[in-house]
């Protein structure tokens, strides 16, 4: 390859991600001069359309930001409203929230790991191709995903955009029978999760490591899912209400998703890798052991191994859901009473793809005056671009089509949810 030669690699639209976006990489000689993770899915203006709506409508409206992780939005919005109206949801209702969130982790993680990400490691186009050669893997994955959805249905009434969640708790407490019916399938699910963890651990992982700034939640008593403080591997430890003092968003031309960064302008990473590395000590013994057997240390810095980390989290979520389902007794009341009023509140939870922050201001009637929602993929955008840069630089000698695929895979390491962050994925590698 001579220095003056121009090489351009283009992919019309990146597949196996939620939503639509593009990547543009420019290489001059042996140097990468530009990387843009372009998000141009048409914006839907959620923060604007929430203005003037009642506080109680926020969970159902924000659920529609993303069909894959509606619980993250419903719960973030609920927590923020509960914070604004000074109520607390505890006991069985809190457990039910954790249970349904486990369902979402299982459904979303298995969809991504087995159906969207695994094909990359096998050089295959999709999971249907995997099913022809390894039907076991795909059938086990489908049954696990289905169980995740069944948890959502049992607690929430519907898998996509559940109807039973509200500020203060639930419209109706699920029956003991409905929740106990999950117990036996969850026992089997633990085995399936172990099986898939082992299967994916056997993949060849591209050799790429990065010293990430991991940002996740942390809870004193449990592996954080729906509650906790926000911490980082660089020593940050703040309540969700301080989020905007430490992180900000910037609007860049090539993205309809605002890009997140620390107030000092540093990029950071949220999601399974961050949670795992910050909170490894709080995983179950079985999950820790499965991680070790899969070749992971207590901190994981190779983003390609995120597929294994996701399965370790699925294993944990199955065990946790099992524990909660076995202990479930119907509560006296399905929700805490909420009185509309003025206030400002913050909520943050661990969506499958990482922390998702909400804040709202309410007027005296409980109508929304202002809303800010910061989804995980917006926060990861800068880190995604940086990983692509690193991966391209380390693989300059690859043929264009292979390098393009590797770039796509690098983006898929993040399970980017472009619908959440707003948005269209096109991939162009321009070599000058």
């Amino acid at each position: 390859m001579t220095k003056s030669k121009t090489r351009t690699i283009k992919v019309g639209a990146l597949a196996r991600v939620e939503g639509e976006g593009a990547l543009y990489v420019r290489i001059r000689g042996q140097e990468v001069t530009d990387v843009q993770f372009q998000i141009y899915e048409p914006p839907r203006f959620f923060e604007a359309l929430l203005q003037g709506r009642m506080f109680a409508e926020a969970p159902d409206i924000t659920a529609r930001i993303c069909g894959i992780c509606p619980i993250a939005y419903m719960m973030g919005a609920s927590h923020a409203m509960e914070d604004a109206l000074r109520i607390e949801v505890t006991g069985v209702l809190r457990d039910l929230r954790r249970l349904i969130y486990c369902g979402e982790w299982i459904e979303s993680h298995v969809l991504h790991a087995a159906m969207l990400h695994a094909p990359d490691f096998l050089g295959m186009q999709d999971a249907f191709e995997i099913a022809r050669g390894h039907p076991d893997v795909v059938t086990k994955a489908l049954s696990l995903k289905k169980l995740g959805n069944e948890i959502l249905e049992a607690v929430g009434g519907r898998a996509v955009h559940p109807v039973n969640l509200k500020v203060g708790g639930f419209y109706k407490a699920p029956s003991r029978t409905a929740i106990r019916a999950l117990v036996e399938p969850l026992k089997e699910a633990v085995d399936s999760a172990l099986y898939l963890t082992r299967a994916f651990a056997a993949f060849d992982f591209p050799d790429y490591n990065y010293d990430y700034q991991f940002v996740s939640m942390r809870h004193p008593d449990e592996y954080a899912i729906h509650e906790g403080r926000i911490i980082s591997s660089h020593g940050l430890d703040i309540p969700p209400s301080a989020f905007l003092e430490h992180f900000r968003e910037e609007h860049v031309k090539h993205s309809t998703a605002l890009q997140g960064m620390t107030t000092d302008g540093e990029r950071y990473l949220v999601g399974p890798l961050a949670r795992y590395s910050n909170n490894f000590d709080q995983l179950s013994d079985l999950a820790k052991e499965a991680a070790r057997d899969a070749g992971l240390g207590p901190v994981c810095t190779n983003p390609f191994q995120s597929i294994v980390v996701r399965m370790v989290e699925v294993l944990y979520a199955c065990q946790e859901a099992l524990r909660l389902a076995e202990a479930y007794e119907e509560p006296d009341a399905s929700c805490v009473e909420v009185v509309a009023g003025a206030g400002e509140g913050h909520g943050c939870t661990e969506a499958p793809r990482g922390i998702c922050y909400h804040t709202y201001r309410l007027d005296d009637d409980g109508r929304i005056l202002g809303a800010t929602i910061i989804p995980p993929t917006s926060q990861n955008q800068r880190q995604i671009e940086n990983d692509v840069l690193g991966v391209v630089q380390a693989n300059m000698d690859m043929a264009d089509s292979d390098l393009q695929w590797r770039c796509e895979q690098t983006i898929r390491n993040y399970d980017p949810c472009i619908s959440c962050s707003t948005h269209f994925l096109n991939l162009t590698v321009d070599r000058a």
Partner: protein
């Protein structure tokens, strides 16, 4: 003998949350069989492999919100023998059609620091405003059993068997206690098309209309009931103004309470 040619299925996304196409991947028990029965020619959420058109059946999720997408849907229509819209975004403009009741520039300025980077049409519009649609499958999200019925029907050249009666009728059929009568909870069931599987009233909440208006709904009479049960104008307006806000009967009724 050569195998009969498999039908080519394509799935397209416009402004949406992906929840309706996810409902296809959520057919866990039928997915592999379906993938064997048809040629999945374009389904970016699931596969990197794409096959050129024409397509026998295109499923379209999402609404039209910018000029680029307004052109793209024309191209897709030309390449599709049958085109079925899936979900409230595609059939009615979705929750993002709340912008139709405001000034879109204000919306852009609320969310983005550099409004000039953003290109958006003033309205979020359903697919049938732009091209001919062969069937509209309602819901936010669609119901996966109904989706399987529609797929089966189109692949076998018959009309889908999707009921057009109201959610209220569905409660009666299933013996669900009426939340309006028993608790005075406002419920859109009497004016909303059935199809969700009867979800909200059994959970002791009013139907929130995610399947959109039924044929010739009597919204005025229902709003009268809401009013006498104590709901103020803003509350009545907001009930109609959600995921199907731009569907004509709901739009008109919400505007009566503005």
């Amino acid at each position: 003998m050569p195998e009969p040619r498999k039908a080519k299925l394509a799935v397209w996304k416009f402004a949406s949350c992906d929840g309706c196409q996810l409902s296809l991947l959520d057919c866990e028990d039928e997915l592999l069989e379906l993938a064997g029965a048809v040629e999945i020619a374009h389904f970016l959420e699931a596969s990197r492999a794409t096959v050129r058109g024409p397509y026998d059946l295109s499923l379209v999720e999402g609404s039209i919100t910018n000029s680029h997408d307004a052109e793209r849907i024309q191209k897709i229509r030309r390449q599709s023998k049958s085109l079925v819209t899936i979900g409230a975004c595609a059939t009615a403009g979705g929750i993002q059609a709340l912008r139709n009741f405001a000034k879109v520039d204000d919306f852009i300025a609320t969310v983005y620091a550099h409004p000039t980077y953003i290109e958006a049409l003033a309205k979020s519009t359903p697919i049938h405003d732009h091209v001919r649609v062969d069937f509209e499958l309602r819901g936010c999200p669609i119901d996966r059993r109904q989706l399987l019925e529609v797929l089966g029907a189109f692949l076998n050249g018959r009309r889908p068997n999707i009921p057009a009666y109201s959610e209220c009728f569905e409660c009666k059929r299933r013996g669900t206690v009426c939340v309006m009568v028993a608790r005075g909870t406002p419920c859109l069931g009497p004016v909303t098309q059935a199809g969700c599987g009867n979800l909200c009233p059994p959970h002791q909440r009013g139907c929130y209309g995610c399947f959109g208006p039924m044929e010739t709904p009597n919204t005025a009479s229902l709003s009268g009931w809401f009013g006498s049960a104590g709901a103020d104008q803003a509350k009545i307006r907001d009930l109609y103004r959600s995921f199907n806000a731009a569907a004509a009967p709901f739009r008109r009724e919400s505007e009566r309470h503005d």
